[in-house]
Amino acid sequence: MTSTTIATANAEAGRVRLRINRTHLAAIVLLVPAVVLFGVFVVLPILQALRFSFYDWNGYGSPSKFVGIENYIKVVSQRHFGTALRNTTFIALVSLLVQLPLALWLALSLYRNTWFTAFLRTVFFLPYMLAEIAAGLMWNFMYDGNYGLAHSLADAIGVEPKFVLADPAWVMPAIAVVLVWKYFGFHMMIYIAALQGIPNDMVEAARLDGAKPWQIVRHIKIPLIRSALAVTAFFAITGSLQLFDLIVPLTNGGPNNASLTIVGFLYQFGVTRMRIGFGSAVSIVLFAICVVVSIIYQRAARIVEK
């Protein structure tokens, strides 16, 4: 009796186990490559950086001088770190409040297909296709008051050229111009794709009901491309946090570190000085900022969806 029960129970358990295995086998097989790749190329480097950030290490050999949280204290007390935080915040705000509205406005004007809008769309999208370094060099030349466009322009009007990239007060606005110029086309394209997905009869119906163009935009189009807006906002924020390669040819973080971003700070004070521990500490701080931002973003996105 007892042995039969146990046997049945075992058989039962075996079946259950088997069932779990079968249903999950496909999932496991499909997941393994992704998990391995993610682990090796994302999780592992983050953990490595976390470990390095507790060492004083110049990149040679293996880290051996454990210094606790000293690197973090140095990061926070470095006088240029505040500048970097401020600049990155500024870039994020410009991206969200200037770049995205501009892109939306252009998308609303250009999303219908005619040869002329197609032409303009291509023109607006061109800057995005340029390599960051090339775009930076180009604008560095445009802003140059000795030889560049700024010089010719000032000459034509008959005033002294202004060296915006050499002026701590003007350098960030000047970079923001380049940034908006470089990326608005990308966001515009996303909006256009979303706008073209709106069923025409919906807009038609609204118009028949007497909705004015602005009302159609406000109550039909924008709500319907909500997810595109959310995606571009996300791109704009993450792009701002990572901004680096455009600035190197423009100012290299100057004048006097006035245009450092967080990544620029990491590069100037961590990588070029071969202070891997310090640089890792900066990257962990950046990572923490990214995590916080993405949590806020998720919350905000959920509220908007509702």
Binding site: N146, T251, M274, R275
Partner: protein, 417 residues
């Protein structure tokens, strides 16, 4: 089992030896002059022709040379022969056990050819790690026409106060006194380097490196910042210098838009390359003078700032690699590079082949130098060296106090001691 493995190993080794036959020499550098690159390839080909068992790979690493090198040197496939500026970077590489001591392989006449300064630059703890190749010196290049227009006599520039007065005079004449490319911070560092070298002297620098007597916060280094600020107060640099790189600043000087530039001997060529005309200041209008001397200086007015560059060898480099480099560096071969004017060889015999009068004079000056200090961003190591660069560009635009500048350097140095 063990003996079997051992036998296999021996077999594998002999097989390797038999098949290998040729020795590969992997040589990495950051040279960019097309004429020099061509000559380097020709040299490698010539050596291969006379040594059929040797294969030489000459490779250029990009702009981030130092960062790339630290990774490459630690890989299994480390290059054998590496272009080096010596200094603190070399010390780091030696301390990490990445380089090979070549003292035993290099012949005595190769050692004597580079002179004591050449040996010194590549020696750490009594062991020789590299072969010095070329020297450079930072001087004040000036435009004779612009000096004449402003009524400034170059002889008055021998003292720092004279230089400050001259700068004022040139500025009053409506001419930009000095061209500077502070976006590349190292260009501004030459001022701080030289002022510190003059004021603290060789002894003072050596003491500061150890951290004794307040290290780089010692009065001489604070004073270096103060004197730099005195110059900056005169607003001697071209408009927008904060955003200009070295290339742009050498162009400004080459185009005759600034009277002076404090730069290495290489600026002779670079000012041509970067000037609108491609000609720079004509030779008869171009001159140079040594960095001026200061009151109460502990250094010698004949102390010079510059570089001693050469080639070092990674720990797995073969004897053949050292022999090849010794051949590459013999006077007859170096003379070809000197003739092309690509650099000033440290080898005095080869330097005789320099054809450019400016380079000949600079070679002579370095020969007569009482102490040839290496660029601080090399000699102090990357961390403190970059701190010097950083504060110097800030001093040039009066964005930092002399005490904070010295403090930043000391902080960075303290982390490396």
């Amino acid at each position: 089992m063990k003996s079997m493995t051992r036998a296999l190993c021996v077999l594998a080794m002999t097989a390797h030896g038999a098949f290998a036959g040729t020795v590969e020499i992997d040589m990495v550098h950051i040279q960019s002059n097309p004429g020099e690159l061509k000559l380097m390839d020709e040299m490698a080909a010539a050596y291969e022709a006379s040594h059929p068992d040797v294969k030489i790979k000459v490779r250029k690493f990009g702009e981030d040379y130092k960062t790339m090198l630290s990774t490459a040197l630690q890989s299994e496939d480390a290059p054998d022969v590496i272009y080096s500026w010596g200094g603190g970077v070399l010390s780091d590489q030696v301390n990490a056990g990445l380089l090979r001591d070549i003292g035993g392989v290099l012949a005595d006449d190769s050692k004597s050819a580079v002179g004591p300064a050449g040996i010194d630059a590549f020696t750490r703890d009594g062991k020789l790690y590299g072969i010095a190749q070329n020297v450079s010196e930072v001087v004040f290049w000036y435009n004779k026409d612009l000096f004449a227009k402003a009524g400034v006599d170059v002889a008055s520039m021998m003292t720092w106060d004279g230089l400050l007065a001259g700068v004022k005079k040139i500025k009053d004449a409506g001419i930009t006194p000095i061209s500077l490319g502070a976006k590349d911070k190292w260009t501004a560092a030459f001022y701080w380097d030289y002022l510190a070298l003059r004021l603290a002297g060789k002894g003072g620098l050596e003491v500061a490196r150890t951290g004794a007597n307040d290290g780089f916060l010692a009065p001489a280094f604070v004073k270096a910042g103060e004197e730099f600020l005195k110059l900056a107060e005169l607003e001697p640099f071209q408009k927008g210098f904060e955003a200009a790189g070295y290339a742009s600043s050498s162009g400004v000087f080459g185009d005759g838009n600034a009277a002076m530039i404090l730069m290495g001997d290489w600026n002779y060529q670079e000012s041509k390359t970067n000037s609108t005309s491609g000609q720079s200041v004509p030779d008869d209008k171009l001159g140079f003078f040594a960095f001026p001397s200061l009151q109460d200086e502990k250094g010698n007015p004949t102390d010079t700032l510059g570089g001693i560059n050469g080639w070092v060898f990674s720990k797995n480099a073969s004897d053949e690699a050292v022999k090849f480099m010794a051949w590459y560096q013999d006077a007859a071969n170096l003379a070809k590079f000197a003739k092309g004017g690509y650099y000033i060889p440290i080898n005095v015999k080869a330097a005789d082949s320099l054809e450019n009068p400016f380079q000949r004079q600079i070679a002579k000056d370095i020969g007569a130098s009482t102490y040839h200090a290496i660029f601080f961003d090399q000699s102090l190591g990357v961390n403190a060296g970059n701190a010097v660069n950083d504060v110097s560009s800030s001093l040039a635009s009066k964005a930092i106090s002399a005490v904070d500048a010295a403090g930043d350097v000391e902080d960075a140095m303290a982390g490396d001691r």
